[in-house]
Symmetry: C2
Subunit: 239 residues, 2 copies
């Protein structure tokens, strides 16, 4: 578990600090930072009771493929150890109870803010998605249906929307797997354009030194993109 | 100019075609595809008269740094050969007059769609940005102010929003410089988090075999990210 800390330090030694912005610190003791176990991170991230709305639920905009694959993975949460991650309007909801480094602390909850993947509030317009995580295998699956407000080429999702969805799934997976929290690097090779309104399936795996992702159609006959990401562990104190 | 065509063909030989989706073809004659000159592409991309609203104009949400740097580059459009690129609600407006390959053609303009970078319509909420292009040097500058609806960590822009802004500036620059249109690969190294509401300056340069980008504060004292992209030329016929 030390490898990430060393890698982060090597990279960060070349950083300049931004006044007022977070100083990103490599962590040398992941256990202390991320809780005693993967279970405690999951229970923190997926509260059994919460007043926050979970947006990772089926709605009328979902295409049949998205709906049926969602149901398939929901079944796996009952039998195969998979966990459905809730998706709130802001990351502030997720990090409650974690004391972040100076500069990253949430100073006010009154401002009108949203996580990028839940900023378009009309169903079907933006990032329709649901993420499932498998703790024992340290891998995730993200069901992603880009809407018509994420266009690049007419009728197709902007490459940036896929990059965003990958980064989001990477970072949630990295946090829960204990591998880190912030993205240090992201490399994407685009293979085919994703039609707006259709399902793309991101499969994320922990590859020891990085996370890898393949995005494809449900039948796996068309690859949309492949990517990899490296993450940075932060010194997070638990309250 | 053949180098990109060869590179694209090498990559695409491993692709599977998606039924109904565009077949991405490498181009062997960029001059025929992109018009006779960089000037014709610019005049097509930046029409002198148009009914479409240009969103790359100052509004009340812009921070002082963004406003003053915008004015600085606007002066350069009068004296130093820089061009301000208009930014419409959809890419459909930009590609009018270009006959796209089968599968990429715009079959209907009636649907409610938006380019991802103009999908959040409340001023200041999303991707406030303006792109300036220098034809003789084949480089661009993008002034980018991420809003509170693009959050990742509380108070900071999501990595995906920066990836989106880079990809968007890369592809517009690549098109105008005659280097391509679609992103084949994108690699980003994140250095510091961008505070929501502050200015990030993307500087894009044509590096012959790829485009490179550095994103930093206006005073260049803090680097937010560095990235590079490779592009694919398409067989575009002119009407």
């Amino acid at each position: 578990m030390m490898r990430r800390g060393f890698q982060a330090a090597a990279t960060l030694s070349r950083l300049r600090a931004l006044p007022g912005a977070p100083r990103i610190l490599p962590i040398l003791n992941p256990t202390a930072a991320f809780g005693s176990s993967i279970d405690s991170r999951i229970s923190r991230f997926c509260p059994e009771k919460t007043d926050f709305k979970d947006y990772a639920l089926p709605n009328a905009s979902w295409c049949p493929d998205m709906l049926s694959l969602y149901q398939e993975f929901l079944e796996k949460t009952k039998t195969d150890g998979w966990i459905k991650l809730p998706s709130f309007a802001s990351n502030r909801e997720h990090i409650q109870g974690l004391k972040l480094p100076t500069g990253l602390a949430v100073t006010s909850d009154n401002s009108d803010c949203r996580i990028i993947t839940r900023s378009l509030q009309v169903e079907g317009q933006g990032y329709e998605h649901a993420i499932f995580f498998n703790p024992s295998e340290k891998k995730s699956v993200c069901l992603f249906q880009p809407g018509p407000y994420l266009e690049g080429a007419p009728g197709f999702a902007h490459g940036g929307s896929l990059a965003t969805m990958m980064d989001e799934t990477f970072s949630k997976t990295a946090y829960l797997a204990g591998e880190g929290l912030f993205t240090l690097s992201l490399s994407i090779r685009f293979k085919n354009l994703i039609p707006v309104g259709s399902l793309a399936v991101d499969k994320i795996e922990d590859q020891k030194l990085y996370m890898s992702c393949i995005t494809q159609t449900r039948d796996q006959k068309t690859v949309y993109a492949k990517s990899s990401g490296v993450f940075l562990q932060l010194q997070l104190e638990q309250e």
